[in-house]
Symmetry: C2
């Protein structure tokens, strides 16, 4: 088993990565300090629950916990205020008190939603992440929790750290291949922003990663989590440097918003966004090889790097205006300086972004 | 002008108390560090807005701010997730960004709701409290923000400190007399828990306070805020000692939940609750004079100390079970040891509480 500590002072917590972890969830909850007298709320979704919920619940009950569970419909649409309210109702009816904890068993959707429940229920109770997607290596580190508003993604939320992250690699075996690739987009992103060697390692081991080879995957998730944890520890509430994690996300979020959530998966959308950021880098005078290497890495991981022609430039630009990276009138972009290094550029011109979008549409998407 | 600092490290903020403060709100926002390029959201209610919103908005615009306003229906029913979502929609449509701030112009309802908006919009933006009720001297200090769930009050929220509190005593002139008395219940509560002299001072100056004498009122609000700030600074997230602020609130919240929010005002309900806590103290062996003095103080301030006969004991007990003061199976009560001193008693028997409720109903309420 691999283990990383996210060092955030009194909010520090461990991430465990390995096989066969689910069946010890109960013991981990004791280790995390959740008292057995207070009910636990286990949140999962309609795809994940049939596969893994019983195993987790049995372990919890075996350790003396009362378990209340709430299963949401799988998919981004559940990251809404309406579903949030339903989960809260379950928590109240299940008798959750101030010593209770919420366990998020699932991908980033379950993690973000359940995290906002934990952050706001009685002004904050315990929280454990049990990620079951590769993408959730990202969402379960850093304490960002949120739900969407019909007008904008992740609009309502908090910074709220879990007490523990329990990452059982066995659960990834059932993940659909497109979800695997989508998750790897965030993995390689962590290389692209801060670790050149790791970025090239991902390209070299792309086959093993897509095939879920346990050794390669364990290493990749450990590196991905560790890089993210490093960034977060230096800037917990995103006052500055943490923004580098948003590489590819300004364009990516706009693609998700305009295309409709779920047409492109999150990782796919940000893969296109990372290709766009590399094109922007070239426009701003950086080496064009950054773009070529970025594209070769993403393509090796079966990720898209082109925007389908039907995406409207005006709609994409409009969506970016609503995005939280739009601050005090200027547009902020994360721009690669080389593979493994990025800058936060605060005064990017809208016309340059528009140009990048046009270029992303030039060739027909291979998807 | 009086001024108090709430000393919470990097989250420290000033409370200004005095006359004629509203017309300088714009300058105060600059002092608080809100940038003029980002729109401000001014939240108020249907009673307060016609009286004071224009003055505040004019001051803000005069200082170069763009102002978006949202007016909620006055009353506790607006502290709901549905209204929260409406305010968020206004914020998004008004173009609020991560450097924006929310200004709460009103009583505790506006403050709690707008505070939860500020705490969760884009995971937290700026926040200023501009209280217009006496009760809000309490709700605007301490960083508790929340909305209600149909099943329980203040169920969803956060700990989120404002950047500043601007308390213009002139606004209190239009407050209905029942609201004045209700607010004074929290003022005298601060004496009852920690400051014997201040508690007796409130009884002695009850007439001036009810008549809104500026000198007496300014002093009382300063003392009330200062005592609360002291408690909060030692226990920001209510891990322990902060619970003493809940004197009268376990029974008080149950009364509000069972009677329906607004039948008794919050301060009235906790006045009955404080009388109940003093009766419980006598049951647990404390001096019966505590009860008599408590009742004389509350009565001097025109506050109720009896429960109307129609309140059902079973319903009240049930409501307490749902309350957040119910932790790990035991019932926690704040019990006075003398006037100006209280204890947190963790293992109060339900039967004793039931007995207190019966006693509170013994004589017909004067209301
Ligand atoms: N909080 C953060 O810092 C952060 C960071 C990145 C992404 N996110 C959020 O994460 C979300 C995307 O996360 P995601 O990609 O994990 O999406 P997801 O949670 O929707 O999971 C993807 C799909 O895979 C299914 N699934 C999950 N685990 C499975 C398994 N083990 N076997 C079979 N099927 C499984 C799910 O039911 C779902 O249909 C987005 O909402 C995004 O905004 C948050
Ligand atoms: N956050 C906390 O720590 C905390 C502490 C105590 C109470 N509270 C909350 O505060 C709320 C009660 O606060 P409240 O008593 O101020 O209620 P409120 O905000 O509902 O105000 C009471 C009434 O007076 C009206 N009003 C307000 N100011 C006025 C003015 N200057 N002139 C004329 N009318 C005016 C309002 O429109 C309303 O109808 C409750 O929801 C309670 O839970 C919170
Ligand atoms: Zn992402
Ligand atoms: Zn109160």
């Amino acid at each position: 088993m691999r283990s990383i500590t996210v060092a955030l002072g009194e909010r520090s917590y461990p991430i465990y990565i390995g096989s066969g972890l689910l069946q010890n969830t109960g013991e981990r909850c004791i280790e995390a300090g959740f008292p057995q007298r207070s009910p636990l709320l286990l949140v999962s979704d309609s795809e994940v629950a049939p596969l893994y919920l019983d195993k987790v619940a049995a372990s919890l009950r075996g350790s003396g916990y009362t378990v209340v569970s709430h299963i949401i419909q799988a998919g981004e649409a559940s990251k809404s205020l309406a579903v949030y309210e339903e989960v809260i109702t379950t928590a109240i009816q299940g008798g959750l008190d101030r010593s209770s904890a919420v366990l998020a068993l699932g991908g980033g959707v379950v993690g973000d939603l359940a995290g906002f429940v934990a952050a706001s229920y009685m002004r904050g109770i315990g929280f454990m992440q049990i990620p079951t997607t590769i993408l959730a290596h990202d969402s379960s580190v850093g304490g960002k929790v949120a739900v969407n508003h019909p007008l904008a993604k992740n609009m309502l939320g908090a910074f709220y750290q879990p007490s523990m992250v329990l990452y059982d690699l066995d659960t990834l075996a059932t993940l659909p291949p497109r979800q695997v690739a989508s998750g790897l987009a965030e993995v390689v992103k962590h290389g692209l922003i801060l670790d050149k060697e790791f970025a090239y390692w991902c390209r070299e081991h792309a086959g093993e990663l897509l095939a879920l080879d346990p050794e390669a995957l364990g290493y990749a998730l450990e590196r991905g989590c560790a890089i993210k944890a490093d960034v977060v520890c230096n800037d917990e509430t995103e006052q500055g440097q943490r923004a580098i994690l948003n590489l590819g996300h300004t364009i990516g979020h706009a693609i998700e918003a305009v295309g409709g959530y779920g047409v492109f998966l999150h990782g796919e959308a940000i893969a296109i966004g990372m290709a766009g950021a590399a094109l922007l880098a070239a426009k701003l005078g950086r080496d064009r090889a950054i773009y070529e290497d970025t594209v070769s890495m993403l393509t090796a991981l079966s990720l898209p790097v082109r925007l389908p022609a039907q995406y409207d430039e005006d709609e994409l630009m409009e969506a970016m205006m609503h995005d939280k990276k739009f601050k005090e009138g200027r547009m902020t972009f994360i721009v690669p300086d080389s593979i493994g290094a990025v800058s936060i550029v605060g005064d990017v011109q809208a016309s340059d972004v528009r140009g990048v979008i046009a270029q992303l549409k030039k060739e027909e998407s291979p998807w």
